[in-house]
């Protein structure tokens, strides 16, 4: 068995709110192996983003410890790139400049300008956004912004890619196209990916393991499903595949029978 790249040990997260302490997460333990694609799935508000932010180092746990490459995660760093839920492109920069900001930070010291430019171009090319490189974020569609956000993250060649509902705000068609693109990109780069999603099909299609979280407050990991489908995965073939339907059923069973969301 490969050595884990991320180790989450007994992590808990409590927020101080106006109405007292609020325990969002408790007793989370999870090992993430190199080159693995892990999805976090669970009902809204259970704490998926909170967990992802902990791995990113954007916040620190109130109990327990997170390790990356056997070192404690004490803050964010470019080896753990994040694709934000709302793309978070800087509106005063073109797509090219947005990606360049990341590339320059990671490779600027050891590489010259032509090489950096090539990296940015390659990243945008990978998500088929090379035609709109010099446009500003407000000039492109939501799906295109999301793709640039993904390009920015991939261009950093991170060890770990953290994605918070990367396709959450998109329509089904764009979403499917981007999932396929992402599948291809992940195969090409061999990155370790942790992805938050609401979408069961997406989780099965993209992941090696699906981590299902119980409802909050004090959410924790309920079950983990290992998705043993061969890669590359083709969504049309999989639609006919009984194993695909089986995995779906397991996740649906967990979400809608075991963790049925109480009416809020």
């Amino acid at each position: 068995m490969r050595k884990p790249i991320v180790k989450i040990e007994n992590v808990g997260q409590t927020f101080n709110t106006k109405s007292g302490k609020f325990t969002a997460l408790r007793d989370i333990s999870l090992d993430i192996r190199p080159r693995e694609v892990v999805s976090l799935i669970g009902h809204s508000g259970c704490g998926k983003s909170t967990l992802l932010n902990l791995i990113a180092g954007l916040s620190l746990p109130t109990s327990g410890v997170l390790l990356c490459d056997s070192r404690e995660i004490a803050g964010p760093g470019p080896e753990r790139a994040v694709v934000f839920q709302n793309h978070s492109l800087l509106p005063w920069m073109t797509c090219f400049q947005n990606v360049m900001l990341a590339v320059e930070r990671v490779f600027g010291r050891q590489e010259g300008m032509p090489k950096l430019n090539a990296r940015v171009a390659a990243a945008l090319d990978m998500v088929h956004m090379d035609h709109a490189m010099h446009k500003y974020p407000h000039e492109i569609s939501g799906g295109m912004k999301q793709r640039v956000g993904i390009a920015r993250a991939f261009a950093m060649e991170p060890k770990i890619l953290l994605m918070d509902e990367p396709f959450g705000a998109l329509d089904a068609l764009t979403r499917a196209a981007l999932q396929d693109e992402l599948n291809g990109v992940m195969a090409k780069t061999g990155a370790t990916v942790v992805m938050v999603t609401h979408d069961v099909d997406e989780a099965v299609l993209l992941s090696d393991r699906i981590v299902m979280m119980t409802n909050g407050p004090a959410a924790t990991i309920g079950e983990i499903v290992e998705v043993k489908l061969d890669r590359p995965r083709d969504r049309l073939e999989l639609a006919q595949d009984p194993r695909f339907a089986g995995y779906r059923a397991v996740v649906f069973e967990f979400l809608y029978r075991k963790q049925l969301k109480k009416a809020a």
Partner: protein
């Protein structure tokens, strides 16, 4: 300066032509309509009722109507009162005045052009120093809560004070009238600059700062690539408000300090009982204020990025 240019352009045709000048003056309060009315002043006369001509007319008629009304009331008041100069008399005086706006007969008798320019210079210097101090200050107050709380009582206390109240302090410190006037401009410009910049810094979306944290950008990069562009629109708002008040205050300050300047000129002409010159000064002040506002609006538009 641009006011002078506009007036010069409007000069040759005789009778009913003072409109363009006054269009601008009337619209001062509503800066948005300004651009439209200014662009639209000439075409309909040439085009008549063409395709876009009708649309043009619809835009033109109300402001023209307003101006005519204003001139009418003005003429009426002038006739009734007897000692206020009417539009005709003022126009004649303006033609004389603007025939040579840059003459120089010693320090106390200079053309209106010089007076406007020296007022603008004072505003520029006072305002420049205010920007130099106020913008970095705003960044500090916006970035550090401690600083914000520390300066809050001071700013709250001083901001409502008329900048003219600071004029004697300026006279005392600088021992001269000219820097004292500049000093009042500095005082009145600095508050909007600090407050707007600070607000801009506080409103930088957390998302952008998270991007900076994930990328691990250096503090310099954070400031130049993220904070500064995010805050720029707020800063420009501060600048616009500052310039507006500065232009209001300079007239009053110069009335008190004397020297060369449009405010002083107004007071001087009052002493000479040339009331028509005062009316002209009112228009000139309005037009220059309008031009400043328009310039800054254009600048702000250039630097504003579309919302997400």
């Amino acid at each position: 300066m641009s006011a002078v240019a506009i007036l010069k352009l409007a000069e040759p045709p005789a009778r009913a032509e003072p409109e363009p000048v006054k269009t601008a003056a009337v619209a001062t309060e509503r800066s948005v309509t300004v651009e439209r009315s200014e662009q639209a002043v000439t075409p309909p006369v040439r085009e008549g009722l063409g395709e876009g001509g009708r649309e043009m007319l619809r835009r033109i008629i109300p402001p023209v109507f307003g101006i005519v009304l204003m001139i009418g009331i003005w003429a009426l008041v002038a006739i009734k009162s007897g000692n206020i100069p009417g539009p005709g008399k003022t126009w004649a005086a303006a033609r004389v005045l603007f025939a040579d706006p840059f003459y120089q007969n010693g320090p106390n008798d200079q053309g209106i052009g010089w007076n406007v320019l020296s007022s603008l210079q004072r505003v520029g210097i006072g305002f420049g120093f205010a920007a130099l101090v106020g913008i970095p200050m705003g960044f500090l107050l916006g970035r550090f809560a401690f600083m914000n709380r520390m300066f809050d009582p001071i700013i709250s206390l001083l901001r409502p004070v008329s900048p003219l109240a600071w004029l004697p302090i300026g006279l005392l410190v600088f021992q001269k009238a000219d820097p004292a006037a500049t000093w009042t401009i500095f005082i009145c410009s600095i508050w909007p600059m600090i407050l707007n910049t600070a607000q801009g810094v506080q409103r930088v979306p957390q998302d952008y700062l998270n991007v900076a944290r994930v990328l691990g950008l250096s503090e310099v990069k954070v400031i130049t690539k993220i904070l500064f562009p995010a805050v720029l629109p707020y800063m420009l708002t501060g600048i616009r408000l500052s310039i507006g008040t500065a232009w209001l205050v300079i007239v009053a300050a110069e009335m008190l300090t004397g020297g060369v300047g449009i405010g002083f000129w107004v007071w001087d002409e009052w002493n000479n009982l040339k009331v028509e010159h005062i009316v002209i000064a009112i228009f000139v002040i309005g037009i220059v204020g309008l031009a400043l506002e328009y310039m800054l609006l254009t600048l702000a538009k250039r630097f504003s990025y579309e919302a997400r």
